[in-house]
């Protein structure tokens, strides 16, 4: 939609820094950006690129120690770069609306959502009471929430993540702004929910003629939803243009790497993986495993709990071939975590068996399971809590060896050095504490620790979801290389299909504890059999271009 030719947002040569001690650390350098009325612009960058700082600067919500050191920020014609708080307040809600990042923490937990939306309505439209309430209900209907009158009286914790994000959108729209800044609007949500929320946002924005600035780390989201894509790195804009141009003909090396990494995640090394294993040998088998959890229910009179049963896994069966990777794909609540815990012996199934190299694991108690600990290991999801903050990398990595009785110091040190080499980290990392390492480095240390006992089977629980796209690519490449060299089998759990595509030989799709689909990666990606799998594939942002490519290569 074309409106008058004054840009809503015009940023010229903006420099923003944070004061740390006596210095000013630059977060944004010489950024110029224009957003016309009705336009959707996406700003893409990894962590540390300055995109969040830019978004905060546009609404005047820089941190205490943040400063605009140069340049102008023109909003609807006026320069606000050095405006006072009172001036910014006039803008907020009325001209610029903000949709914040994490719906779990962006709403006041002790206030009903109706009142929170009503607050925005009152502030910007100046009305109170019944007419304000009517407006709140209208907004709730617009964002597609069922039973608006009832929901308005509910508290945030009573709503799902997707609904909370919609409430945040309603709050942003309440003031009928001219532009919405959406800060990573979907990173905390499941991929199918992500898609619905983005659909709603896009529809509303187009219908009301509002401009939108999407801040994201996901090139796919940017490509799908924006009219124009801006790529940031290290505080500067490195490339800018329509999505098709950026994706297919990137000019700068950084952009090329970004796309290559994202593409690589989608690049299916079909040739390699389409080949069946030379001697298929089963290393792990799940036989009709079911697990019933009892959720804490009401407390009876004497404190006895009347528990409600929850079926976490329902007759799940699959096999893992030696030396290959089985990827387990599922959204939250699919049961994938329970599955891993059962494979590790942390929980016992309610029915069914788990067979590892011919041995039934489900009948073993903790002590009897111990010999198998050498052979089955786990890499956990969160690299930030996977390492004891008080132990150096060396101490963390050799701990499994100590537990199994290897105490000779020379032996341990040599082994530690070799493990660190294997995960491609410099040796001086051995003396570092976890807080001095980045997320990617910590995850490599966790992998090194898991390899210390030379296991045959490695279980990986979303090992890259907390990392940037380029770091993800490196870790996945490392895992693939190690599989080739050491012959380790992987069970790789993820909710992200594009991550899975880079590493999986076989895929298992889980939903609500049931197996939706199971087969080779080529087959599942190329010819998905169930509607749910198709939905998952469609929801992956940026796939529309890739699907055809992939189909072509599979032939």
């Amino acid at each position: 939609m074309k409106g008058p030719s004054t840009p809503i947002v015009q940023v010229d040569g903006l420099c923003v820094g944070y004061r740390s001690g006596r210095e000013i650390v630059a977060a944004v350098s010489d950024v110029s950006l224009t957003v016309m009325p009705g336009e959707v612009v996406a700003v893409v960058g990894e962590s540390g690129s300055g995109k969040s700082t830019l978004a905060n600067a546009l609404i005047g919500l820089l941190a205490e120690n943040g400063r605009v050191t140069a340049g102008t920020i023109r909003i609807d014609g006026e320069d606000f770069a050095h405006a006072r708080e009172a001036a910014w307040r006039g803008l907020r809600g009325r001209i610029i609306g903000l949709v914040p990042q994490d719906p779990g923490v962006s709403l006041n937990p002790t206030m009903t959502i109706g009142r929170q939306i009503g607050e925005a309505v009152t502030r910007t439209r100046g009305i109170r009471g019944p007419s304000a309430d009517a407006d709140v209900l209208e907004l709730l209907e617009q964002i597609g929430i069922d039973r608006p009158a009832q929901r308005a009286r509910q508290y945030p914790h009573e709503l799902s993540g997707g609904m909370r994000q919609r409430v945040l959108i309603a709050i942003a729209l309440a003031g009928r702004p001219k532009i919405i800044v959406a800060d990573e609007p979907t990173s905390a949500l499941d991929v199918t929910v992500q898609r619905r929320v983005l659909d709603i946002l896009e529809a509303l924005v187009k219908r009301l003629g509002i401009a939108m600035l999407i801040i994201t780390h996901d090139l796919g989201v940017a490509a799908d939803r924006a009219d124009r894509v801006v790529v940031m790195q290290g505080g500067r804009i490195v490339e800018e243009g329509p999505p098709a141009a950026i994706l297919h003909a990137p000019k700068r090396p950084y952009t090329q790497n970004l796309i290559a990494d994202a593409r690589m995640l989608r690049q299916l090394a079909w040739q390699e993986r389409a080949e069946p294993a030379p001697q298929p040998r089963e290393i792990l088998r799940f036989d009709a495993v079911s697990k019933v959890h009892s959720m804490p229910g009401q407390r009876g009179w004497l404190g006895r709990r009347m528990d409600r049963p929850l079926l976490a896994l329902d007759q799940v069966s699959f096999t893992v071939q030696a030396g290959r990777t089985l990827a387990i794909v599922g959204e939250s609540g699919s049961g994938k975590t329970t599955l891993l815990r059962i494979a590790l012996g942390l929980e016992k199934p309610s029915a069914g068996r788990v067979v590892f190299e011919g041995a039934d694991l489900t009948v073993l108690n903790w002590k009897d399971f111990r010999p198998y600990r050498r052979r089955i290991q786990l890499v956990q999801q969160n690299p930030y809590s996977a390492l004891d903050p008080r132990c150096t990398v060396y101490e963390s990595v050799i701990e499994p060896l100590l537990s199994f009785g290897h105490t000779a110091r020379t032996e341990l040190e040599a082994r530690a050095r070799r493990l660190i080499d294997q995960v491609r980290l410099p040796r001086l990392v051995l003396n570092r504490l976890p807080r001095e390492l980045s997320g990617g480095q910590r995850q490599r240390v966790a992998i090194a620790r898991a390899l210390a006992l030379e296991p045959e089977l490695l279980l990986l629980d979303e090992p890259v979801s907390a990392l940037d796209v380029s770091v993800q690519a490196q870790i996945l490449a490392l895992l693939a290389e190690m599989q080739r060299d050491l012959g380790v089998s992987y069970v790789f759990v993820s909710h992200d299909l594009s991550v899975v595509a880079a590493i999986a030989h076989d895929i298992l799709v889980l939903r609500n504890g049931r197996v939706e689909e199971h087969g080779s990666a080529a087959r599942v990606f190329g010819q998905p059999r169930t509607a749910y799998t198709r939905e998952l594939l469609d929801a992956v942002p940026g796939r529309t271009g890739q699907r055809e490519e992939a189909l072509q290569v599979v032939g």
Partner: protein
């Protein structure tokens, strides 16, 4: 919901019973010979008595029963409101308590109210001000309030406001003027703790993401502080108020001693000096009851203020 309430009440009564039992065990079971203590407290030397008189005394004090019998005997009497007889004065303890309890309640109540008001006002100011040096000073002050012994503050206030300036009396219970200095003295430690916790709480809540959402709506600082920050930062204070009851009671003992006021605090202070066991047991039990009652009210109020807890309460 009813289940939750009844559950909490049963819990409270159990705790009170436990507190009584422990105090009983300390006073009656710990000492080597309770009889000699009781006789001394009554002003009689044990050596001057014949064996026959000692046996009679033992029976009189109920010490010839088995431990369990005596315990249940006393507990039974307690449930009917009979707190026993004071050894040193011979009067029924219940009567002594009835005379003094209102005074102490007035002192403690005023102190609690003052401490909440001071604490909140202090924290509000500390979070509201933007001028760095003043903020820094305000942040340091509560730690001082917590560190100073309450009886020392009392003496200091007496020295300054009673003796030097003559504004308020230094002792006694007559008139509201005599309540001012003791109540303020008693309020200071609690106020300091509330201020400290609230300052940190305000800071923590201001840093929460939902405050950014509120700011993005265009609200003023004052509106945000009142509608969003205050409610969320105050939640822990409610629990804290319950816990502080104990400190207020302890403080009352010291404050009443320093200001020579009539009250339960001075009663127990003298009772300890004279080893008057029934009085000590009664006062400690009453304090425990007050603690338990206030915390029960806090527990029941909590779901009203925090909707997340309310959800749990109705479900369980």
């Amino acid at each position: 919901m009813a289940r939750y309430i009844i559950g909490r009440i049963v819990q409270a009564l159990t705790v009170l019973w436990g507190a009584y039992t422990i105090t009983y065990a300390i006073l009656y079971l710990l000492p080597g010979d309770p009889l000699s203590i009781m006789l001394t407290a009554s002003g009689v030397e044990m050596d001057t008595l014949s064996a026959d008189q000692i046996a009679k005394a033992r029976h009189y004090y109920g010490l010839d029963q088995g431990t369990m019998e005596q315990y249940f005997h006393l507990l039974g009497r307690l449930l009917t409101g009979d707190f026993g007889t004071s050894l040193s004065s011979g009067r029924p303890v219940a009567a002594m308590l009835a005379e003094r309890l209102p005074q102490t309640l007035m002192l403690a109540g005023t102190a609690v109210a003052l401490s909440i008001v001071f604490g909140f006002a202090f924290a509000w100011l500390g979070a509201w001000l933007r001028w760095k040096p003043l903020r820094a000073v305000l942040r340091r002050l509560p730690a001082i309030g917590i560190s100073i012994p309450v009886y020392w503050t009392g003496l200091l206030f007496i020295q300054i406001f009673a003796f030097s300036l003559g504004w308020f009396p230094s002792a006694g219970n007559t008139g509201w003027q005599s309540l001012v200095l003791p109540a303020v003295t008693l309020a200071i430690p609690s106020a300091a703790i509330y201020a400290q916790i609230l300052l940190r709480g305000f800071d923590d809540v201001w840093a929460e993401p939902f405050i950014a959402t509120a700011r993005a709506k265009g609200l003023r600082r004052g509106q945000i502080q009142l509608r969003h920050v205050l409610r969320n930062a105050s939640l822990p204070i409610l629990t804290l108020v319950g816990l502080q009851v104990g400190h207020t009671v302890s403080g009352a003992v010291l404050v009443e001693t320093v200001f020579t006021r009539v009250g339960v605090g001075r009663l127990v202070q003298e009772a300890v000096l004279r080893q008057d066991i029934p009085v000590v047991l009664a006062v400690v039990t009453i304090s425990a009851a007050a603690f338990v009652a206030v915390n029960l009210v806090v527990d029941l109020l909590y779901p009203l203020l925090d909707p997340r807890i309310a959800g749990l309460a109705t479900a369980g």
